[in-house]
Symmetry: C2
Subunit: 367 residues, 2 copies
């Protein structure tokens, strides 16, 4: 078990990673009146209390709402539904919301917590690799609206995050590795040593070895905190986290929000493959070649796609709409023609790229 | 003209009070790309550019949305409408919203600004006494939902506030004095000298003398900042601002949100009348008697009601539903049986009041 204090902007809160960690949660909840505690939980866990998820059986002791954990729930309609339940259940502003689930439940619940009665307390219990490694860290909340990802949202840190590693056994392989991809991405940009370790521990990860998962998640949380803590509201340091995302999102936009063809982590896997190619085209030296080759090796070891033909679909876009999506990406536009690329493994840079040709060559790499 | 820097929590921003102040705004807006500036304006000003409002003619140079300034606009539907317009107009996260209007426009626009793309910049141009004296100061944003005032909201300070005193001429007398009531209330709780001044300057206020208005608004802003700045997220110091509100809101709840019988400031006027009565019942000395008598005098001088028969309605509630509303007030409940009362003019206290009898006597005073 690892327990440590996160500091983001002016907020400080504990993060607990391990198994059998919910005794700490119960102690924490003694600061709140029981009738003022409200759980928002992925409905998967409503009917799936087994050996791996039995630590969650405390949820039945509290007021709760079970919600589908799919992207369809990350909407203003779900937001209104949760608000209505909070009112029905008389949750007051000195209450607390406990969000149990993946990124969708976490982002939605955190947005509710940041706006209900001008903000109430929140605890995250992420249950997926994506949520433990990425989305529960950094204070971002959000819901999708008008077909735009996180068009509405805020920054609202939790009072604590509890990560129970046994819950990861509830994930299928695609979701499991999709989340691991965010950790691999951070190692590419920021930590060569960890990257090389990832190349060695793939079998242990596949077995979902608890010690290995604890190490990966602990490292991921610390690394993400390093990127966001000095820089709460998205400036240059935080931008490094977008490695692979600009390209990945151009592909995600093609497939649309609500589908099973491409998961977010799979898009990022394609994105970091493109980014490694573009990096090598730019620097064209031994180190950039190493980045290119090792990126291919690592995504393959972690069952992640390095080209379109490995996706769960025969629907493969041509390059043209992808480049169009890339150039229309509102986030990218407001940041200028900036892209995150790597000079070598563990060494990311922000670079202006205005040559469309090099972008096309990057995309060609994944066909 | 008065220009000074407000400090609330970790935010600092300028407040400019006077006439002919919008040259400063234009200089300020040079930090933004023109296509990224979006005005949300009370539709009253769309067709009412005259001698008093001509300073607002700059609004036609920018992207804008005109909205009804009534309470009907403080809803999630209006929120969605504004978000849609921001998307249609391609306002990016490094853009800015300028809110021009009273409390409704200000609260709605600020909530939009705090949540659109996880928060964008905001300028307040309050155009009513209520907004200049009270609602634009303190960072509170909010929309009404499920018949609850500000059920959804956040804290989001503007980058600047511009208060053009000439715009107050757009107000009818009821709205004008309704806002002044918030200033009177603060003088009762916190500043005897200002209270006594209010008793002398009523004629100048009635004439809407610009120097007098500037002095009142400058004093109000400083006084409100004093109450909120050490205490951004509503603790004891901020509670003092609720003087008269607990009782006033019990009356407002009776009449409902959307009506013309009772304006917010009129409810506060009745509320501070009740509070002065209860204060005198509790302390029963010369000073509390003075508070009681002078409160009656001041609300009368400012055309504010000190009893139900002075309201714009013949619909007068019995005491029973008012006491019931008082006891059901969620905000009050979460704060316990605490009420703000005054020992003397300028000297407010938080007091536990559990004797229902004294509350009834307080309400009887305004029949």
């Amino acid at each position: 078990m690892r327990t440590f204090e996160a500091k983001i902007s002016f907020d400080k809160f504990p993060i607990i990673i391990g198994i059998n960690i919910f005794d700490n949660l119960k102690a924490f909840l003694e600061n709140y009146s029981k009738k003022n505690i409200f759980i928002i939980c992925d409905k998967y866990f409503k009917d799936n209390i087994n050996f791996y998820t039995k630590s969650l059986s405390f949820i039945y002791e509290y007021k709760s709402l079970f919600i589908d954990g799919g992207l369809e729930s990350k909407t203003i309609e779900s937001y209104k539904l949760v608000i209505k339940e909070l009112v029905n259940e008389n949750i007051s502003r000195d209450g607390i919301i406990i969000a149990i689930g993946g990124g969708v439940i976490g982002d939605l619940s955190a947005f509710v917590a940041s706006t209900y009665q001008r903000g109430i307390d929140l605890i995250h219990i992420p249950t997926t690799t994506t949520a433990m490694i990425d989305s529960s860290i950094g204070g971002k909340t959000g819901i999708n609206h008008l077909d735009q990802v996180n068009l509405i949202g805020s920054y609202h840190n939790p009072k604590a995050i509890f990560m129970d590693l046994r819950l990861l056994d509830s994930l299928n392989d695609r979701d499991f590795y999709s989340g691991i991809c965010e950790a691999i991405k951070m190692s590419v940009t920021s930590d060569k040593e960890m990257f090389l370790k990832f190349l060695e521990i793939d079998k242990l990860v596949a077995q979902r070895n608890l010690d290995t998962l604890e190490e990966i998640i602990y490292w991921s949380v610390l690394t993400k905190l390093k990127h966001v803590s000095n820089d709460y509201k998205e400036k240059s340091m935080r931008l490094i986290l977008n490695y692979g995302h600009t390209f990945g999102q151009a592909i995600e936009t093609y497939y649309g929000l609500y589908q099973e063809k491409l998961k977010h982590g799979e898009a990022i896997s394609l994105g970091i493959s493109i980014a490694s190619k573009i990096s090598h085209l730019l620097f064209n030296n031994e180190e950039s070649k190493n980045l290119l080759m090792k990126t291919k090796e690592i995504v393959n070891k972690y069952n992640l796609p390095d080209n379109f033909h490995k996706l769960n679909t025969s629907d493969i876009p041509s390059i043209k709409p992808l480049i169009k999506n890339l150039l229309n990406d509102k986030k990218r536009i407001s940041e200028g023609n900036r892209f995150i690329i790597c000079e070598s493994i563990g060494n990311a840079k922000i670079k202006l790229l205005s040559d469309e040709n090099i972008l096309i060559k990057g995309f060609e790499y994944i066909y």
